[in-house]
C-alpha cells in the first residue's frame, strides 16, 4: 500500500497543477502597447496611433480605452478603440484650444483594470498651442536648434531588443527624394503573420528614446504582475464579445436622496431587481438583466445600443439610485516627468509652430482615410413584431388626452380613474385570459411606469399607437399585454420615471483611420513640410519575407527615425529602427 501512495500523490499533484495552470492561463492579464506617429504635436493636429494587445488569444479583449489627460488630470480626449486580431489603429483629433504642455496618453482594457492603474500603458506627449509663441512651459537653457548632425546621442540610439532589421537604401537623402526601406524578419523564430506599424518621423532633439514594444512587453515588472494575477479579485470582466456595462443599485436615504455608502440591511439584499435597458426609437426595444443580492448588475450590451442614449431603469420601485461603472475613470494622478523637457525641445516646438502656420496657409492639413469602418451587428432587441392593431390618431378628430383617445379610438383598452391616478387594462374580448392588470406601456420605444405618464398626450402629440392585448413573453419576462405609444416630439425626454432611472450615453468604437499616403506631384511649388514622412499602421508581413516599403522625404532637413513596432499573431513582440538624414541639395 505504502509503495503506491507516494507515486499516486505525486501524480495527482502534477495533474491538478497542470489543470490549474490551464485555468490561470485563461486569466492571464493583458498588456497594451501604443505607438504614436510622433511625440510632439500642435493643438489641432491629428494624433495617429497603433495599438497592440498581448494576452490570452481565447479571452482577448475586444476594446481598449484611450484617454489623453493634462497635468491636472483633466481628460482632454477619451476614445474607445476596437481591437481586431490583437491590434488596432486610428487617430485622435487634438482640440486646437489645448494649452502648451506635456500631456499623458493612458490606454488599457477593462480586464486590465483588475490589475490597477499601474498596469496601464502610459505615454507622454507634448502639445503646443499655435498662439503660444513664447512656449514658456518648455523654457530651457538651450535656445539654438541643433544641426542635423549634432542631435544628441540619447535621441538616436537604437532601442534595445530589436529583432527586426530595418535597412534604408541609403543613409543620406536629399529633400523630396524617395526612401526605400526594407524590413527583414530573418531573426524571428516565429512563423506567424506579423502586424506592423511604421513611423518615419523627425527626431526631436533632447527627447529620450521611447520604450520599444519588445522592451515593454518583456518588462520584468509586468511579468511579475502576470504571476500575481491569480491572487486578485476579478471585479471587471474582459470585453471579449462586446461592451460590458457594470452597475449597482445604491440605496438612498429617505430625506435627501443621498446614496448610502454602507448597503447592508437594505431592500436590495432581499429583492432581486430587474434592470431594463432601452433607447428612444420607433420600435419598442428592451434588454434586461437581474441584479444580484448585493444590488450589482452587469450586462453585455447589444451592439444596437452603441452610441445611443440609453435609459437604464429598475422595473421595480426602490428607494435607490443606479450607479454605472465609469470605464474612463482614473484615480491615480498624473505627475509629468522630465522626459520631454530636455534642451532643444523648445526650439523644436517653435519651429514646429512655424511649420504649422505655413501648412495652414497652404491648407496642407493631413487628411485621414476613414474608409475602413467598424463592422457592427445592428440587430435590434424588439419586444414585439406585429401588433394586433395599430392606430394613427391623426386620422381621427382631435382628442385632448389619452383618456379620450382610449375611449374613442382604442376599444380594447380601458383607462379608469382611481382617486387621483389613472389605471389602464385590456378588455379580454377574445377570452384569451388577459389579466385585468395594467399592460406594459412603452413610450417612444422605452418602457415606462404606468398610463399616468402619458395621460396628457392628445392626438396632436401622438403619432402611432400599437396594441397587443394578449399575455406576451419577452424572453423569460411575462408582459400582461403591450401598449406602445409613439409621440411626434419624443415625449419620452419629458418623462419623470417613478423607479430609479439613469440616462447613459453609450459609447461606440472609433473607426480605423490612417493618413492618406503622400504621393509626390511633379513641379509642385507648394512647400512640403511634413515632419512625419510616413505613418502606416497596417502592414502585414509573413516571416522570412523581406518587405519593402517606400516614402518620400519632405523639404525639411534633419534626422529621421524609422521606427517599426508590431506583434506576431502568436503574440511575439517585434521591433526595429534605423536613422536616416535628410539634407537640402545645397548642403
Amino acid at each position: 500500500m505504502k509503495t503506491y501512495i507516494f507515486p499516486l500523490l505525486v501524480f495527482l499533484n502534477c495533474f491538478y497543477s497542470a489543470t490549474a495552470q490551464n485555468r490561470f492561463e485563461s486569466l492571464k492579464p493583458e498588456m497594451v502597447y501604443l505607438q504614436t506617429d510622433r511625440n510632439i504635436y500642435i493643438a489641432g493636429d491629428n494624433l495617429s496611433f497603433s495599438l497592440y494587445l498581448k494576452g490570452n488569444s481565447k479571452t482577448m479583449s475586444k476594446y481598449a480605452y484611450l484617454i489623453l489627460r493634462d497635468r491636472y488630470n483633466i481628460p482632454v480626449t477619451r476614445a474607445r478603440i476596437e481591437i481586431k486580431n490583437q491590434s488596432s489603429f486610428g487617430n485622435i483629433s487634438l482640440p486646437d484650444t489645448l494649452h502648451s504642455d506635456i500631456y499623458q496618453l493612458v490606454c488599457y482594457t477593462n480586464w486590465m483594470r483588475n490589475e490597477g492603474e499601474d498596469s496601464y500603458f502610459t505615454k507622454e506627449i507634448i502639445i503646443a498651442n499655435r498662439f503660444d509663441k513664447k512656449l514658456e512651459r518648455f523654457d530651457s537653457t538651450l535656445y539654438t536648434y541643433p544641426s542635423a548632425n549634432s542631435v544628441n546621442s540619447d535621441s538616436i540610439k537604437k532601442a534595445g531588443n530589436e529583432n527586426l532589421l530595418i535597412q534604408p537604401d541609403k543613409q543620406i537623402y536629399n529633400t523630396r527624394e524617395k526612401v526605400n526601406i526594407s524590413i527583414d524578419a530573418k531573426n524571428i523564430q516565429d512563423d506567424s503573420i506579423m502586424k506592423l506599424s511604421v513611423s518615419v518621423s523627425e527626431i526631436v532633439p533632447g527627447s529620450r528614446n521611447e520604450t520599444s514594444i519588445t522592451e515593454y512587453f518583456n518588462n520584468s515588472y509586468k511579468a511579475k504582475k502576470e504571476g500575481e494575477s491569480g491572487q486578485n479579485q476579478y471585479k471587471y470582466q474582459p470585453e471579449i464579445k462586446g461592451t460590458i456595462i457594470d452597475g449597482r443599485i445604491v440605496p438612498v436615504k429617505h430625506s435627501d436622496n443621498q446614496p448610502v455608502s454602507d448597503n447592508t440591511n437594505n431592500e436590495s439584499d432581499t429583492i432581486k431587481y430587474t434592470v431594463l435597458v432601452s433607447t428612444p426609437d420607433t420600435i419598442a426595444n428592451m434588454q434586461f438583466t437581474t441584479a444580484d443580492s448585493s444590488g450589482s448588475f452587469r450586462f453585455l450590451l447589444n451592439p444596437y445600443y452603441e452610441s445611443k442614449e440609453l435609459i437604464i431603469r429598475l422595473k421595480e420601485n426602490a428607494k435607490a439610485v443606479l450607479e454605472l461603472d465609469d470605464k474612463f475613470k482614473l484615480t491615480k494622478p498624473y505627475i509629468p516627468s522630465d522626459l520631454l523637457t530636455g534642451p532643444g525641445i523648445r526650439y523644436y516646438l517653435i519651429r514646429s509652430l512655424k511649420i504649422s502656420e505655413v501648412q495652414r496657409y497652404y491648407t496642407e492639413r493631413t487628411e485621414t482615410n476613414t474608409g475602413k469602418k467598424t463592422e457592427r451587428t445592428l440587430a435590434i432587441s424588439r419586444v414585439y413584431y406585429n401588433p394586433y392593431s395599430r392606430v394613427f390618431p391623426a386620422d381621427y378628430l382631435p382628442l385632448p388626452d389619452f383618456v379620450e383617445i382610449s375611449r374613442e379610438l382604442l376599444p380594447a383598452l380601458k383607462v379608469r380613474k382611481l382617486g387621483d391616478t389613472y389605471v389602464s387594462s385590456y378588455v379580454d374580448t377574445q377570452n384569451r385570459g388577459v389579466p385585468s392588470i395594467e399592460p406594459s406601456i412603452f413610450l417612444d420605444g422605452v418602457p415606462i411606469d404606468d398610463v399616468n405618464q402619458i395621460i396628457n398626450l392628445g392626438t396632436n402629440e401622438i403619432k402611432r399607437i400599437d396594441l397587443l392585448p394578449v399575455i406576451r413573453y419577452y424572453g423569460e419576462m411575462p408582459l400582461s399585454g403591450i401598449l406602445a405609444v409613439f409621440s411626434k416630439n419624443l415625449e419620452i425626454n419629458n418623462i419623470q420615471f417613478k423607479t430609479p432611472t439613469i440616462r447613459y450615453q453609450a459609447i461606440s468604437s472609433q473607426n480605423f483611420t490612417k493618413p492618406i499616403p503622400y504621393i509626390p506631384v511633379n513641379n509642385n511649388h507648394m512647400p512640403d513640410l511634413r515632419q512625419v514622412i510616413l505613418w502606416d499602421p497596417e502592414i502585414k508581413m509573413h516571416n522570412k519575407e523581406k518587405l519593402e516599403i517606400e516614402c518620400y522625404t519632405s523639404d525639411l532637413h534633419g534626422k529621421y527615425r524609422i521606427s517599426v513596432q508590431g506583434l506576431t499573431s502568436s503574440g511575439l513582440p517585434v521591433n526595429g529602427s534605423s536613422i536616416i538624414i535628410v539634407k537640402s541639395k545645397s548642403e
Partner: protein
C-alpha cells in the same frame, strides 16, 4: 491503517484546494450571458380548442436552436412545431408556459436531437401555393440544399370528425392526417410544388428526362417508404438531370 487515513485526507485536501482555486479562476466565465442573448418573443398560447397532438411534427418538447431574422441565434430552447397551425412553440423554462413564437422573428430552427437525428431543420420559405392565392411565408423542413433544393411543408387535411366525451361533456373532435407538400426550388427561386412524388409527377417535373427518371426509380425502389435519404438522393438526381 494510519497510512490509509493519511492517504484519504491528502486526496481530499488536494481536491479541496484545487476546487477553491478553480472557483476563483472560473469567475471569468461568470458574466451573465443570458442578459446579452436575444430574447424570444411571442404570446402565451391559450387555444380555444385543444390541438390534436398528431398535428405536431415532434410530439415531445425537443431542444433546438432558433435562428432569428435579425441574424442572431437563440440556442438550446425547448421547442415544438405544429404543422397544422404552422407555428413554432417554445416551452418557457421557468413557468413551463407554452409560448407561440412570433413567426416574423424566426428565420429557421434546428432540432438538436430529434430521435437521434441532429440534421432536422426548418426554414421559413415564401410559397405561392396556387395561382389565385398570394404567396405566404411557411416553415418548410429542409431536406436537401444544392442547385435544386427540397423542402417539405408538413400540412394536414381533415380526415373526419368524431364525437368524444371529455370531463363529462361531449364534443366534436376533428381528426387530421398529414398531407406533405414537396417544394423543389432552384437557386433562382423558381419552384415546383407537388403533393406526390409519384412517377407521373416526377415526369411532370422534367418531361424531357422520362427515361432517366424511370431508371432512377427502378434503381431506388422504396416500396412506398420515401424516407429522408431517398428524398435527398432524388433531389440530387433531379438537380443533376436538369443541369445537364
Amino acid at each position: 491503517m494510519k497510512a490509509k487515513i493519511i492517504f484519504v485526507y491528502t486526496i481530499v485536501l488536494i481536491f479541496t484546494f484545487q476546487s477553491l482555486q478553480g472557483q476563483k479562476s472560473f469567475s471569468i466565465d461568470n458574466i451573465d450571458i443570458k442578459s446579452s442573448e436575444f430574447c424570444l418573443t411571442g404570446e402565451l398560447f391559450t387555444p380555444n380548442q385543444s390541438i390534436d397532438g398528431a398535428t405536431y411534427f415532434n410530439s415531445d418538447w425537443v431542444p433546438g436552436d432558433i435562428y432569428l431574422s435579425n441574424g442572431e441565434v437563440v440556442r438550446n430552447k425547448l421547442i415544438k412545431y405544429n404543422g397544422l397551425l404552422d407555428e413554432l412553440f417554445w416551452q418557457e423554462s421557468r413557468s413551463k408556459n407554452v409560448i407561440k413564437l412570433d413567426k416574423e422573428a424566426i428565420m429557421q430552427f434546428h432540432f438538436l436531437n430529434l430521435n437521434g437525428d441532429s440534421t432536422v431543420h426548418f426554414r421559413k420559405i415564401k410559397v405561392k401555393r396556387s395561382t389565385i392565392s398570394d404567396s405566404s411565408e411557411i416553415f418548410g423542413q429542409v431536406i436537401y440544399e444544392g442547385s435544386l433544393s427540397l423542402f417539405i411543408l408538413h400540412t394536414y387535411k381533415t380526415a373526419g370528425n368524431e364525437l368524444i366525451r371529455q370531463n363529462g361533456n361531449l364534443f366534436e373532435k376533428t381528426n387530421y392526417s398529414e398531407e406533405p407538400i414537396y417544394i423543389f426550388r432552384y437557386t433562382d427561386n423558381k419552384t415546383f410544388i407537388t403533393k406526390s412524388l409519384s412517377r407521373k409527377r416526377l415526369y411532370a417535373f422534367s418531361p424531357g428526362n422520362k427515361n432517366k427518371i424511370k431508371e432512377f426509380i427502378k434503381a431506388n425502389k422504396t416500396g412506398g417508404n420515401k424516407d429522408v435519404s431517398y428524398l435527398r438522393r432524388l433531389t440530387e438526381f433531379l438537380g443533376q438531370i436538369v443541369n445537364q
